[in-house]
């Protein structure tokens, strides 16, 4: 019978390796998202570091099947950016990434809703108030945005 208990040092090391694997796979994707929000390379890198530093405490959650690994990391990133979203005045439409092929295919209203939620941290209720529409309509617009992303090559 193996009576050897794993040393916390090796547990820590294996957790670090897991975070490294996550970093290797998703860091670029998350940094791209953060950069599109904060528009500053140094600040974006600082947020990325904060996300992966916190990820080590959430490794058990990644095994949870409620959300994919990327979406879970994205959720952590959004939590980290919450303060930034609160403190920053919203950009106007011109500040949206004009090189984004998905946004180019969206109407002004769709861009407003998708960018508002994804890159500016707005909620469906705040957008509903801004556009003077019910929340259901905002969700429908959001759904159409995802259909565009899905069908785009």
């Amino acid at each position: 019978m193996n009576t050897q208990v794993q040393n916390p040092v090796s547990i820590g090391h294996s957790r670090l390796l897991l975070v490294h694997k996550l970093y290797h796979k998703y860091a670029g994707m998350l940094l791209g998202y953060i950069f599109d929000v904060v528009k500053n390379e140094t600040i974006a890198e600082q947020y990325l570091i904060a996300v992966f530093r916190d990820a080590i405490h959430e490794l058990n959650e990644f095994a949870n099947e409620d959300l994919s690994t990327f979406c879970y990391l994205h959720a952590i990133t959004r939590k980290k950016l919450a303060e930034y979203f609160r403190d920053t005045t919203y950009h106007n439409r011109e500040s949206y990434n004009s090189n984004n092929k998905y946004l180019r295919q969206m109407s002004f209203e769709q861009q407003f809703v998708f960018c508002g939620i994804h890159w500016q941290g707005k909620t469906t209720s705040s957008l509903a108030a801004e556009l003077n529409k019910p929340e259901e309509s905002i969700r429908k617009i959001l759904k159409d945005c995802f259909t565009i992303i899905r069908n785009s090559n």
């Binding site: 992966f52 530093r53 959300l67 994205h74 969700r139 992303i149």
Partner: protein, 166 residues
């Protein structure tokens, strides 16, 4: 609410973007567990999110992982504070072994097959490439020149032979 109606409502989209309310999240997790169509639609949206993120990805600066590892190492347990490994053999007193040099190092095997280089190397590569082209041009020139000379020598030899025969 019917399943298809639920999928079409856009709640799944708010969930993957992280703006669903607590009540909506609870309801969605229930629907996801109960209806495979909802689960499937959610997975598709997660793929869409990854697709969007992949297209807008930015390569992190080379030192970023080192900074993260340093910060993580500061919070995970260290050797000094770690409790001893429980091992039955420890119950029997054994003479303390001297730690070998090899034990003091951790073998690290890189996963990536790629290599990072400083940007200044691109000028070196460009210079090597241009020099390569120049040498190739010279080689072709001298080869043709040599061939031409050989032909001329051959012609002269023929002429001499003809003159001698006369």
């Amino acid at each position: 609410m019917k399943t298809q109606e639920y999928i079409e409502s856009g709640i799944l989209e708010t969930f993957v973007l992280g703006v669903a309310t607590e009540q909506e999240v609870k309801e969605l997790l229930y629907m996801k567990a109960k209806y495979p169509e909802v689960n499937e639609a959610l997975q598709q949206l997660e793929n869409d999110m990854e697709k969007l993120a992949r297209d807008l990805a930015v390569e992190p600066p080379s030192g970023t992982w080192y900074k993260i590892a340093q910060e993580i190492n500061a919070v995970i347990p260290h050797q000094e504070t770690a409790p001893q490994v429980f091992n039955r053999r420890d119950n029997y007193k054994q003479p303390e072994k001297e730690t070998s040099k090899a034990d003091q190092y951790i073998v690290v095997e890189g996963e990536s097959s790629h290599m990072r280089l400083h940007k200044s190397w691109r000028w070196v590569f460009a210079a090597v490439f241009i020099l390569g082209k120049i040498f190739l041009a010279f080689a072709i020139y001298f080869y043709l020149e040599n061939k031409h000379t050989q032909e001329q020598i051959q012609e002269l030899k023929t002429e001499i032979r003809l003159l001698k025969s006369k």
